[in-house]
């Protein structure tokens, strides 16, 4: 039975509304393949501008696969990684994902970092009914059937950051300077944050400033001058979504012009421990970041994981200085184990069955228990606020009391919109007059 006919078959069975038929068809393939390894794809840039962030993700995915194989594999079969390097090139992401799905016939793909790369592979996964695990925090407003989003949604990173800054602990800030690079993630995040600030937090429009700089912008003199005036009364904070290298001149200028973290803290959403290792940390010390995981967390599970990763680094000649763990790495590591557990539970690598098994699935993680939402393909997790230390690590200064529910559609931008893939759900929907209107039906 060829892959093509199987997919046709699946589609037919879906139309008929009987997932059962696919279930009958599948064991044949399994017996045909016998104890052959299960192939999974790794689709992260190992060269080009994104390599700095994405290469460590490949390492932890391989590490997790190694652990699974050591424990006997999945369904008695070994897991075999197929590594593709899309070289930070968005078109190449789509091409390589096509190769992984059609040629290598992988059971799942762990991959992508930037939103552009995710958007570029999305049609490929949806058309070929693949399964993508995406480990990075993102702007939301997406809920694909074929993607499991393990990184944070806006309400699991960005808005808790605001909550913290406005609390007594965070300095009771009342004014916010939203500063970012000019592309989709900062623009969407800030659009949501602005609405969150004005609607939920009742911050007046006049107390919010918004500004974008192009990629690789170097001269932050004027902007820092504006921030200084904006925050003169000591009641303002900066929300930073600047991407990559521009953070260096920005933080240097902040420090040199005497804007201190103590009086005007900067809350950053786009760099973690890995990126901090490459920067001059001194001007950043005391500023804040919001994530679902920090390497410095003192939980037994995390200490164990960090130790295991240090061992891994030694075995793979990764220099000690670069051997750090961070939030996207934690998500990537956990989602490999999530997939394995789901396959084990479903007793099949079939995408439909694995997706079904993933609904509400829980596993232990370095941040405690970790759960896939029952409906919307995102995950539940705690949120931490960390203060940057001299050594490029974070002191955890605040955490949410419990898991935060993932909301791919922000309540402030799309009130009433949510996503449900369980029990015949068709993804994103609006509630109109108490009834669900599926977005896929509208178009």
């Amino acid at each position: 039975m060829s892959a093509w006919s199987r997919r046709e078959f699946l589609r037919g069975s879906l139309v008929a509304g009987t997932g059962l038929a696919a279930g009958i068809g599948f064991p044949k393939i399994l017996t045909a393949q016998g104890k052959e390894p299960i192939k999974v794809g790794i689709l992260h840039s190992l060269s080009g501008t994104m390599a700095i962030s994405e290469a460590p993700i490949k390492e932890v995915v391989l590490m997790a696969i190694g652990e699974i194989n050591k424990a006997g594999g999945v369904l008695g079969r070994k897991v075999e990684p197929v590594i593709e390097d899309p070289a930070s090139n968005w078109d190449l992401f789509a091409e390589k994902s096509k190769k992984l799905l059609l040629q290598d016939k992988v059971a799942a793909v762990f991959g992508c970092w930037t939103s552009v790369s995710r958007k570029s592979v999305l049609p490929v996964f949806e058309k070929n009914n693949g399964l993508l695990f995406y480990p990075v925090q993102y702007e939301g407003e997406e809920c694909s059937k074929n993607v499991i989003y393990t990184g944070a949604t806006i309400n699991q990173q960005a808005t808790p950051g605001i909550d913290y800054l406005m609390s007594a602990e965070g300095g009771g800030k009342k004014k916010f300077y939203l500063l970012g690079s000019d592309y989709v993630y900062p623009r969407t995040t800030n659009k949501i944050l602005r609405l969150y600030l004005t609607k939920v937090k009742k911050v007046p429009e006049s107390a919010i400033a918004e500004e974008y700089t192009p990629f690789h912008h170097q001269d932050y003199q004027t902007i820092v001058g504006k921030i200084k005036s904006f925050s003169a009364a000591g009641d303002a904070a900066v929300i930073n979504t600047i991407n990559g290298d521009s953070n260096v001149p920005f933080f240097k200028e902040l420090a040199n012009q005497g804007v201190t973290a103590d009086k005007t803290p900067t809350m950053s959403y786009s760099f973690a421990e890995v990126e901090l290792q490459t920067l001059d940390v001194k001007p950043l010390v005391g500023h804040l970041a919001s994530w679902n995981y920090f390497m410095s967390l003192k939980t037994p599970d995390n200490l164990k994981w960090v130790k295991a990763y240090k061992e891994w680094c030694k075995g793979h000649s990764i220099p000690d200085k670069q051997c750090v763990t961070d939030d996207p790495m934690m998500h990537a590591y956990i989602h490999v184990h999530l997939w394995a557990k789901a396959v084990q539970k479903a007793e099949s690598t079939d995408v439909e069955k694995v997706l079904k098994a993933l609904e509400g699935l829980e596993i232990p993680s370095p941040v405690g228990k970790y759960k896939v939402d029952e409906k919307n393909h995102h995950t539940w997790k705690p949120v931490y606020i960390g203060k940057i230390r001299e050594d490029g690590q974070f002191d955890v200064v605040w955490k949410t009391k419990s898991w935060v529910r993932p909301a791919p559609w922000s309540e402030v931008t799309y009130p009433g919109r949510d996503c449900d893939w369980s029990n015949g759900g068709k993804g994103s929907f609006d509630v109109v007059g108490g009834k669900r209107m599926w977005l896929s039906d509208k178009s």
């Binding site: 192009p214 240097k252 012009q257």
Partner: protein, 543 residues
């Protein structure tokens, strides 16, 4: 201040000796206060009692509570120190049965600080900080007490002012006191505070003054508040203009130092060197390598690395430029298109080489004396690193001018560039002059890269951000004229930094760049030869 110190010392001794009970009337019973602090029901009341305390033991206790280092352990309250040692609430170290320092094992329970009381604890701790040892902390605590709007902090601030010797901290304390006095019941007090804030042109006090204006009934205070706000506005406007001018000059210096090398290679020699940005990159990486070597080998002199890096960057970029001229460019003289493509290729090779060897992002730490800046006006700081770049640009410009126009070597360079055949006839080795001149241009780029690493990034693609600006400066200035390069850098720098604040919206930085580019294009349409065109035979020769 001395009297206070005596009181503090006395309190310290008393608590240190465990003489809480023996202390006179009015002294605080630390044990019982701590116990009530630990119980959720009485936490608020206990905090209220501790507000006015100046006992260092109270500071320790509250800090432990705030940091989650206060525990109930074996039925008593203990504080976990940074060294993992345990003390009781009075600060005495605890020993276990063997006489060893006690350790937290199991069964301890952290005392929780109710979230709603966090602010109160913070305020009380700031009162201690404002009398503390670290001037930066004193200043910041003073500022926070001033904005807290809590008049009960007035006595502490007044006490702190008496003993303060640091000028900046004193000013911060006085500002804070004035801000709190804006809410004093006596109109005369308020008037005094308003006048003081106006006199200091304190931008930080604007929200408080506006709040006062909204509720104030006393006409004299109202009038004074309005004047004060106007004074502050005027001061801020004037200060901003100074700031914009400095920003412009600083950007001009950055542009000048970036394009000086290009003014030699492109301006004088007419070589379109697309690898110019990569020559800057070489300088930046030299700074990075020297910094890493110093950090590894001579950590005690880590700050001095920059003085080694600067001349070394000159040498490294110069040598690479020399090799580039000798290996490639000399075969392509008079063929500008080929030169353009070849040097672009060399630039890409250097980029990829840097990426392979150094990875994608590294950064240079400024030496400690380049951190921070000098406060020229209240709230306006000129960063040392930018002042240094302005100075370096001027020095490099002066040196280049002396070399080209006041030295024998410069005479030969100019002779070759203006009339190659004639110079050769007179016995000048044009080959050698070409090579050395090109190397000089790239060496200057190396110095620029080294200096710019202080304020920017170091990454393989950093050259791309420099090259366009450099060419723009040289072309606008007029090819072949040093003075043109200088004037063009100043014009572009100033206009960019004066336009940027004038543009509102969310992407002023982009629009300012676009506006400058449009102006430059328009100007070149009108005067294609740039600001300072070469005239006469030299012009026809280089054209």
């Amino acid at each position: 201040m001395r009297a206070l110190a005596v009181v503090l010392a006395a309190a310290w001794v008393l608590t240190g000796l465990g003489g809480v009970a023996a202390a006179g009337p009015g002294a605080l019973d630390l044990e019982s206060a701590a116990r009530r602090l630990a119980a959720p029901a009485t936490q608020k009341g206990a905090l209220g009692e501790l507000t006015a305390s100046s006992d260092p033991a109270v500071e320790r206790l509250l800090r432990a509570l705030k940091d989650g280092a206060l525990y109930v352990w074996k039925g008593r309250l203990v504080i976990l120190g940074d060294d993992a040692g345990l003390t009781d609430v009075a600060g005495r170290p605890l020993l276990d049965a063997q006489g060893q320092p006690a350790q937290l094992g199991s069964g301890q329970e952290a005392v929780a600080l109710d979230e709603s009381h966090f602010g109160v604890v913070q305020r009380i701790l700031e009162r201690f900080e404002v009398l503390g040892k670290d001037p930066a902390k004193r200043q910041s605590a003073a500022f926070k007490l001033g904005t807290s709007g809590d008049p009960s902090a007035i006595p502490v601030l007044a006490r702190a002012i008496e003993g303060e010797t640091n000028r900046d901290v004193r000013a911060a304390l006085e500002d804070a006191l004035a801000k709190l006095r804006l809410r004093a019941p006596d109109p005369a007090d308020r008037l005094g505070a308003v006048k003081q804030l106006g006199r200091r042109a304190s931008e930080a006090a604007v929200p408080q003054l506006q709040a006062l204006l909204a509720e104030e009934t006393d006409p004299a205070v109202r009038a004074a508040a309005r004047t004060a706000l106007q004074d502050i506005d005027r001061f801020v406007a004037q200060r901003n203009i100074v700031g914009y001018l400095f920003n412009g000059i600083s950007l001009a210096a950055v542009l000048l130092i970036m394009s000086l090398g290009l003014a030699v290679t492109f301006g004088l020699m007419g070589i379109i060197n697309m690898a110019h940005g990569e020559m800057l990159m070489l300088g930046s990486y030299t700074a990075y390598v020297v910094q890493e070597i110093f950090a590894a080998r001579f950590p005690a002199y880590a700050d001095s690395y920059f003085f080694v890096a600067l001349p070394l960057a000159f040498l490294v970029a110069g040598l690479v430029g020399f090799a580039l001229e000798w290996g490639v460019i000399r075969f392509l003289y008079g063929r500008p298109l080929e030169t353009l493509i070849v040097t672009w290729g060399v630039g890409m090779i250097l980029q990829q080489g840097a990426r392979l060897y150094f990875g994608d992002q590294t950064s240079v730490n400024s030496p400690t004396w380049f951190r921070g800046g000098v406060e020229v006006l209240t709230g306006l700081i000129f960063p040392w690193s930018r002042i240094f770049i302005v100075g370096l640009a001027l020095v490099a410009l002066g040196a280049l001018w002396l070399l080209l126009y006041r030295s024998y070597a410069g005479l030969k360079v100019r002779a070759v560039m203006q009339n190659r055949a004639m110079a050769a006839c007179l016995g000048v080795s044009t080959r050698r002059v070409d090579a050395v001149t090109f190397a000089l241009g790239t060496a200057l780029a190396g110095v620029a890269g080294c200096a710019l690493a202080l304020i920017g990034t170091v990454d393989p693609e950093v050259g791309k951000t420099y090259i366009v600006d450099s060419f723009m400066v040289v072309v606008l200035g007029g090819v072949g004229k040093l003075v043109g390069t200088v004037v063009a850098a100043v014009c572009i720098g100033l206009s960019n930094k004066l336009i940027e604040p004038a543009i509102g919206g969310t992407a002023a930085a982009v629009y300012a760049k676009v506006a400058v580019l449009v102006i430059v294009i328009w100007f070149l349409q009108w005067r294609p030869t740039g600001l300072f065109a070469q005239r006469g035979r030299a012009a026809t020769e280089t054209a």
